[in-house]
Symmetry: C2
Subunit: 203 residues, 2 copies
DNA sequence: TGTACATCAGTGAACGCGCGTTCACTGATGTAC
DNA sequence: TGTACATCAGTGAACGCGCGTTCACTGATGTAC
């Protein structure tokens, strides 16, 4: 911890990072502005120089999270290379990797219940993350005959739901499972893809 | 609202029901003992005649939820009748129906982060609910050749994860989807079962 | 290079609030005789 | 049926606490000349 004078230097980002730790530790609802200020070695009132208030700080945490998330997903997807299938599976793995590596961001994004109406700056960046998975699903769909090709938005919703469920129940949660979350999601997606007709019926 | 004298008559259950509404409305973290007491037209101190405190009331809500949940799942499963497949699908539908009809219970069970250690009365009833889905998955597995039969506990974890994900993201959540949650889960489970080799590869 | 001054980013005290919990109490109910 | 009394389930006041937010302030920094 470095010394500092009257001025902090980079309080805004320091508050975001303090919030991240607190959120990961106590959930978005348990996070308080006062504790974040204390963690950044600053008076609660100082927070108001950089954020409109508690919710606004929370929203900034979520916004940065969506940014990282979208970037990771895009990197994993890699424009569908080497194959649509491999890219899709990599995207699924990236989802879980993000949740594990950035728990504070993840919780601010998906468990804080932030209104996208109240924080319009969140909408575009949230959509960007979503679009990656949908493109990945779309790439897959093209390998299916048109008559039994579910909409890409449905496929991506299925995968998103299973991924989120694995995170909440088996990674974060109290529910114990004999399988590591990563294996659980990988096998679940595998079976699902076989059901779509994209993997051979047996291994 | 009926008149009452000094004694309430059935305060314990009235508090549980007040808590249910508050939880559904503001999440388990937002629920307060004082508001529950006020909703039951009683002083906050009166709550302590029936519960050890706020968390204990929350735990009772969750316990009742697990009870209802397990009963609904068992009813839907119906000991695997008429077929293992139909019973499994009915169980999946029952999951979502429960989440929709009993949001307060659902949230107390899965979003409150109650420690099963601190409330040992929760463990057996939570396990009972879990066991139903696992029996349903086990019934399915028996129709698969032993060499490509994933463990029943894995299958049930996959389905639980997808169900929970659909509830959190698309039923409760801000995420909008063109598909109703019920359809989303049904189609997702359908594709998954096809992947297991339990449904014909095309429709 | 030195000085005056505007701007900025903090402080510290104060606010009103609702929270969970405790305590001594009291009104209502049920039971023994 | 009537009365004394124990038990029970509420009340009401009080507590200490931490919260988010506001306000007038002040110390530090940067800029103009």
């Amino acid at each position: 911890m470095t010394k500092r004078g009257y001025h902090h230097g980079n309080l805004r980002q320091a508050l975001v990072e303090a919030a991240l730790e607190l959120i990961a530790e106590k959930s978005p609802q348990g996070f308080t502005l006062s504790e974040a200020a204390k963690a950044a070695e600053v008076t609660p009132a100082a927070v108001y120089r950089h954020f409109a208030g508690r919710e606004d700080l929370l929203a900034e945490v979520a916004r940065q999270g969506y940014d990282i998330f979208a970037a990771l997903m895009e990197y994993a997807f890699d424009e569908g290379r080497p194959t649509a299938l491999a890219a899709f599976e990599a995207t699924g793995r990236a989802y879980l990797a993000f949740a594990r590596k950035y728990p504070g961001h993840y919780m601010a994004m998906f468990e804080a219940g932030l209104s996208l109406q109240a924080f319009p700056e969140l909408a575009p960046v949230a959509m960007r993350a979503r679009a990656v998975l949908e493109r990945a699903a779309d790439g897959l769909s093209r390998h299916l005959p048109a008559d039994r090709r579910p909409p890409a938005s449905m496929v991506s919703a299925h995968i998103w739901a299973m991924s989120h469920g694995v995170v909440e129940l088996y990674m974060r949660g109290a529910t114990k499972s004999p399988f590591p979350p990563e294996d659980l999601l990988e096998s679940g997606i595998g079976i699902y893809l076989r059901g779509l007709g994209l993997l051979p019926p047996d291994r």
